[in-house]
């Protein structure tokens, strides 16, 4: 049912994923969304439209399901993808302050990406590094025992890194 007609050709990898779900019903929605996000890093409009067409579901419904879960995002990942752990141990050790520092420094809400495409922010429940609490993970690299000051410094360093490249 979902189509964005008149849009450029389908990204081939979406088709490849959809092909593995022939005759799938609505129960295939979440695995499909997960696979697409894994491949693309996020759920684009086109992806949602194509999945809707494939499963005969309206786009509003798919968006509704996807927004129910924290794991789905609707913007491409930034060059630096920041995962802030808000698990119990990190919370006790002050991860809320760390998260607020990132939010304020980048002007970014969880799930969003900065306009220059440099940073994206995600809140995760627990990344299994409680001994390092409060911890964040940037592009797979862990930063331990953070404070708001420390995390601001890390963000500044990343910005410098990019500036030096230019």
């Amino acid at each position: 049912m979902s189509t964005i007609t008149g849009q450029p050709a389908v990204q081939p990898d979406i088709q490849a994923i959809l092909d593995r779900y022939t005759d799938a019903g609505r129960d295939a929605l979440i695995p499909l969304l997960q696979e697409v996000q894994e491949t693309h890093g996020y759920l684009s409009r086109e992806a949602i439209a194509r999945i809707g067409e494939h499963l005969h579901l309206p786009a509003s419904k798919i968006y509704g399901v996807a927004t129910f879960y924290n794991q789905f995002r609707f913007l491409p990942l930034g060059r630096y993808h920041i995962q802030v752990c808000r698990g119990t141990a990190c919370h006790v050790k002050g991860s809320l302050g760390v998260l607020d520092a990132v939010r304020q420094d980048l002007g970014l809400e969880p799930g969003k990406t900065t306009r220059d495409g440099l940073f994206s922010l995600e809140v995760v429940a627990c990344i299994g590094a409680c001994g390092l609490a409060p911890v964040i993970c940037i592009n797979g690299e862990f930063h331990a025992n953070l404070t708001p000051q420390k995390v601001r410094r890390i963000l500044d360093e990343l910005r410098e890194e990019v500036e030096n490249e230019e």
Partner: protein, 573 residues
């Protein structure tokens, strides 16, 4: 039949039905904020909880099947306390600014707060912050007033087959929204406004153009003309305490004059005009092997639905503009010329049972030289508000007649307001065009009434003609799927977006029950039965307009002014 005991009295119940339905049929009122007639219960709001003997907890009666011999207490202190608490919790995240709310007086939340005796703000704390979505020309959404009952979501998906909205997010952050939380204007919303009709609060309302209209009336430079749709005269009375189905046509005209409109025209006249063109188009398509089945084009929600969901069937749509737009076109051409007024000095208003008409009036197809044919659309509800604002008592007004040259109608134009009416009017005229005679009895019984789908087989001049009438776009979708799959015995389809037709449109008086809507339909057919001019081609004003200005149906002038075409529309569906 089962027997159950409710509040210590025995009542009869039907096997398999839900307790709430039994209670309602027996005149026992249990409140609900989310239950919808003819749709499966969701049990979302919990307002209908009752005590059932043997059950530990309160049960939602909307989703509790009746059992023989069960004992129920509907208004026990425990049930009442639970209901009151629900309302208090809903109010904790509600603006409770009823004085400023357009829904005040028609709001279920307000009504229940009052009935249950909520007199203090028991729960206080942070409220969610929301943005009003006023992007759509027909419908305004204010999520702050939404109680998440889900009725709009369900009517959009299950009745209209559109599903422009759904629940977005989770927990206390849940809200109703479109795909990617975009404005309603760029969504697949077809602007029908059925969501407004089912909304228990002021979270959904029509986009109002009252100010624009009042300003135009106050402007001495403008000639302000108004037209009123066929169904408005049989529904407006409800806003002023008359019983449903009372026809206030003459009082409506009188009220419009007192409001300061310079000319009052009747959209039923241009409905006759639509029939002249549409019946001719049908006869032409049948004679020349044109695209069939032909589908009516007067319901603007339906038009947008075809543009979005069935673009390959756009050629099946009649090229006729809707009655509103035909009237708009002849006002700013024939009428403007006749009166010697420049079209841009005319402010053309229509009173409609519909919020999609507001969108239709703004379509680029319906402007000529940058001047829109219709400048503003008010719903029946908005007109009632203006009449009240001016302190008029509708019932005490002496009935008056609409103005020439567009004030005289046949009853064929009048029955446009009911599902099946356009079809019947078109058949009367098509029969005349194809045979030269009048349709015996001038009546097609099979396509009257409230069924979502009605079909009939006719024979005109030996040619079998299949007709179908649907209302509610989920019904339309099913029919279109049958046609897509090869069904070819239908030549002409009438589609009304709203279930039952314009009498139940998104701009009509709120809180109407099925009996009221039935009475509105009956009123239109009573008018049709009792008046002498019952065919569009028999309307002398229509004959005069063709003789003096248009020439003949489907002629060159008609083609320019009264016909249009639509294109595929790209939205997230």
């Amino acid at each position: 039949m089962l027997t159950i005991e409710v509040n210590n009295r025995k009542i009869e119940a039907k096997s398999g039905e839900m307790l709430l339905d039994t209670l309602k049929r027996n005149g026992i009122t249990v409140p609900t904020l989310c239950n919808m007639e003819n749709l499966f219960p969701t049990g979302a709001c919990r307002m209908c909880v009752v005590e059932v003997e043997g059950e530990r907890a309160l049960v939602p009666s909307c989703a509790y099947p009746v059992r023989d011999g069960m004992k129920v207490q509907t208004h026990s202190p425990r049930a009442l306390r639970a209901r009151k608490t629900i309302i208090e919790l809903l109010l904790a995240n509600h603006p409770d600014d009823c004085l400023y709310c357009v829904r005040s007086g028609h709001c279920d939340l307000q009504g229940l707060a009052n009935e249950l005796g909520v007199r203090e703000r028991r729960y206080s704390g942070g409220k969610n912050e929301y943005h009003v979505d006023s992007s759509n020309p027909s419908i305004v959404r204010d999520p702050a007033k939404c109680i998440l009952c889900g009725k709009c979501v369900r009517v959009c998906e299950e009745v209209q087959g559109v599903a422009a909205i759904d629940f977005v997010g989770r927990g206390s952050k849940t809200m109703v929204g479109t795909a990617f939380s975009e404005g309603l204007n760029v969504s697949s919303c077809i602007n029908c406004g059925q969501c407004i009709m089912v909304c228990p609060t002021g979270a959904l309302r029509e986009q109002s153009y009252i100010k624009e209209v009042l300003n135009a009336i106050a402007d001495p430079e403008k000639l302000v003309v108004v037209q009123h749709a066929p169904s408005v005269s049989v529904t407006l009375g409800e806003e002023f305490g008359l019983k449903p189905g009372a026809d206030v046509d003459g009082m409506l005209v009188a009220a419009l004059r007192r409001l300061g409109f310079d000319r009052v025209f009747d959209t039923s006249f241009s409905a006759d005009l639509t029939i002249m063109e549409e019946a001719s188009e049908l006869a032409h398509r049948i004679r020349t092997g044109g695209k069939l089945p032909m589908m009516t084009s007067c319901s603007p929600g339906w038009i947008k639905f075809v543009e979005e969901f069935y673009p390959e069937m756009l050629d099946n749509l009649s090229t006729c503009k809707s009655p509103q737009q035909m009237m708009g076109a002849v006002i700013k051409s024939f009428f403007a010329e006749r009166e010697g007024i420049a079209p841009d000095k005319i402010f053309s208003v229509s009173i409609m049972p519909c919020v999609a008409k507001k969108f239709e009036a703004g379509r680029p197809e319906h402007s000529r030289n940058g001047i829109p044919d219709i400048d503003a659309v008010l719903t029946t509800r908005e007109l009632a508000r203006v009449i009240r604002m001016r302190g008029m008592d509708l019932q005490s007004l002496t009935p008056e007649h609409a103005d020439t040259p567009f004030g005289e109608r046949s009853t064929a134009g009048k029955i446009f307001g009911a599902s099946g009416g356009v079809m019947e009017a078109a058949i009367r005229t098509a029969y005349h065009l194809l045979t030269g005679d009048e349709l015996p009895g001038l009546k097609v019984e099979a396509i009257r009434g409230f069924d979502g789908r009605k079909e009939a087989k006719l024979e005109i001049n030996g040619t079998p003609i299949g007709v179908a009438v649907v209302s509610g776009l989920q019904n339309a979708r099913q029919l279109l799927e049958e046609i897509r799959n090869g069904r070819d015995d239908i030549h002409f389809i009438e589609v009304m977006t709203c279930p039952g037709g314009c009498i139940a449109g998104g701009g009509q008086p709120l809180n109407a029950n099925p009996d009221a809507i039935r009475a509105r339909m009956q009123a239109l057919y009573t008018i049709d039965r009792d008046e002498p001019v019952r065919t569009s081609h028999g309307n002398p004003s229509i004959q005069r307009l063709y003789a003096e200005f248009l020439g003949e149906p489907l002629g060159e002038t008609s083609h320019h002014l009264l016909h249009t075409h639509y294109a595929k529309r790209v939205v997230m569906v």
